[in-house]
């Protein structure tokens, strides 16, 4: 394809986009919505993964202790816990350490300032188990201690596991949605370009008779599809970029869920999203236009 032909193709494509502008805008918006959902699911999934990798260090059990028991009683409980099979490590968390952890995790934010004079945070044991399969067994044994100095046994893994399941579910769900929406967008583009193809049926027919090659006939339609896909992609990237920066910007303002707002940087997310959206948008355009022109070439 030389420059002269390219100018011709581009001119033809722009002309028909403008001529069918309502359909063109509708297709751009459809593609953009599809890619926007893709951008949204990708951001949510990668952030969930990111937060998970922070949580996985905490894959252990916590046994919270009654505030009223003495140090001797605590030592006895420690011995009992160590006697449970599969326990490899135990760590005592004092009132002070609990307080520090709390500060670290939730920040010494303004909300907590109003809570001066509250009860001290409970002491606890962090208990490490040799492998994941045995955690259930250890927890059952720890549960026997409830009422005898232990108030509660928490499976940190519960949280983690449901996060994993959630993330996986989201992944499968969003891949399905993305596949579906890509197909829908391709069909919408197909119909838009069919309008052009139909309004130019005679032209195509004459082109065939005077000896235009298939590619010469095809290019303007492909470029039209590519442009629609590209505009859709740029729209989606623009909107999601603004939205993501906004959300990440809230971080400092919500102390209680600080650990949940450990967002991935905008640049990391969009280093993937921009090329991916653009490529997918263009691909949708090419597929849509190729299909809609195909049957008109066999004259």
């Amino acid at each position: 394809m030389n420059i002269r032909n390219f100018k011709h193709f581009l001119g033809e494509a722009l002309r028909s986009i403008f001529k069918n502008r309502l359909m063109s805008i509708a297709s751009v918006i459809t593609v953009a919505s599809c890619l926007l959902i893709l951008a949204l699911s990708y951001s949510v999934i990668s952030n969930l993964d990111h937060m998970l990798s922070g949580l996985s260090n905490d894959l252990e059990l916590s046994a919270f202790l009654d505030n009223d028991i003495s140090d001797t009683e605590i030592d006895a409980i420690r011995d009992e816990i160590l006697r449970i099979d599969h326990v490899v490590d135990i760590h005592f968390v004092s009132h002070q350490e609990a307080e520090e952890r709390f500060q670290e995790r939730f920040g010494d934010g303004n909300i907590l300032r109003g809570l001066e004079g509250r009860n001290a945070l409970p002491r606890s044991f962090d208990i490490r188990v040799n492998s994941v399969e045995n955690q259930e067994f250890v927890k059952n044994n720890l549960d026997l201690l409830i009422g005898r100095g232990v108030t509660d046994v928490v499976f940190v893994e519960d949280v983690a596991e449901s996060f994993v399941a959630l993330s996986r579910g989201l992944q499968i769900g969003s891949i399905t949605i993305i596949a579906f929406l890509s197909a829908v967008s391709a069909i919408i583009i197909m119909n838009t370009i069919k309008l052009t193809v139909n309004s130019r049926k005679n032209e195509i027919n004459i082109m065939k008779y005077v000896g235009a090659t298939d590619w010469f006939i095809r290019w303007p339609f492909i470029i039209e599809g590519v442009l629609i896909g590209l505009f859709g992609a740029l729209l989606a990237v623009g909107v999601s970029l603004i939205a993501y920066t906004r959300v990440v910007g809230y971080e400092a303002d919500i102390p209680l869920i600080n650990f949940l707002t450990d967002f991935m940087p905008t640049s990391a997310i969009f280093a993937f999203l921009i090329p991916f959206c653009v490529l997918l948008g263009v691909a949708i355009g090419v597929v849509g236009s190729t299909i809609s022109i195909r049957k008109h070439l066999f004259v």
């Binding site: 002269r4 005679n202 004459i206 065939k208 005077v210 004259v299």
Partner: protein, 228 residues
Amino acid sequence: MIYLDNVTKIYGNGAVGVKNISLDIKPGEFVFIVGSSGSGKSSLMKLLLKEREPTTGNIYINNTNITVLSHKEIPYLRRQMGVVFQDFRLLPNKTVYENVAFAMQVIGCSPREIRRSVPAVLAMVGLQRKAKAYPNQLSGGEQQRTALARAIVNKPPLLIADEPTGNLDPDTAWEIMEILDDINYMGTTIVLATHAKEIVDYMQKRVITIKNGNVLRDIEKGGYDDEY
């Protein structure tokens, strides 16, 4: 130029297009194809344009067996033949000039070649003063002359015309025939299907009469056959 070797075209519904036709048309000839409605004239034209494939037999154009050409090669075959139809097939949103230039653009001619060739060919068909007119501002004869200009602007060695005067009154039909005769005189081979008895009788060219898809007669310098 054109050589048909026992060509048969049967359509999917069993209708006979052409049957066992063998023909030899030499370069520079002017050939009328006549026959009643449904006799197979258009079918023959479509086979020559490779718009349809023969059921059996082979068609040679310029010593190339076009029946074995791939889909990709068709455009290059079509560049060797101009084509005109009864219904002109002009693009309504383009001027006379643009309609003719279009045929050059789509095969990749440069703007310079186009600027040089189009006015010359418009002059040849007598439309130089209508270059800026749109098809709906033209008479039928002028529209057909535009289509003729478009068909020959790339200087094809062969011109195929399927009832080019079918929509025109007799006087206008004569104008078109005169232009076709000029085109033929400059060396272009012409194959023309028609019902126009008077024209065929007057022109004294080769006449091939077909009936039910068969060649009924093939006469040098013949007239329209009344009894077919």
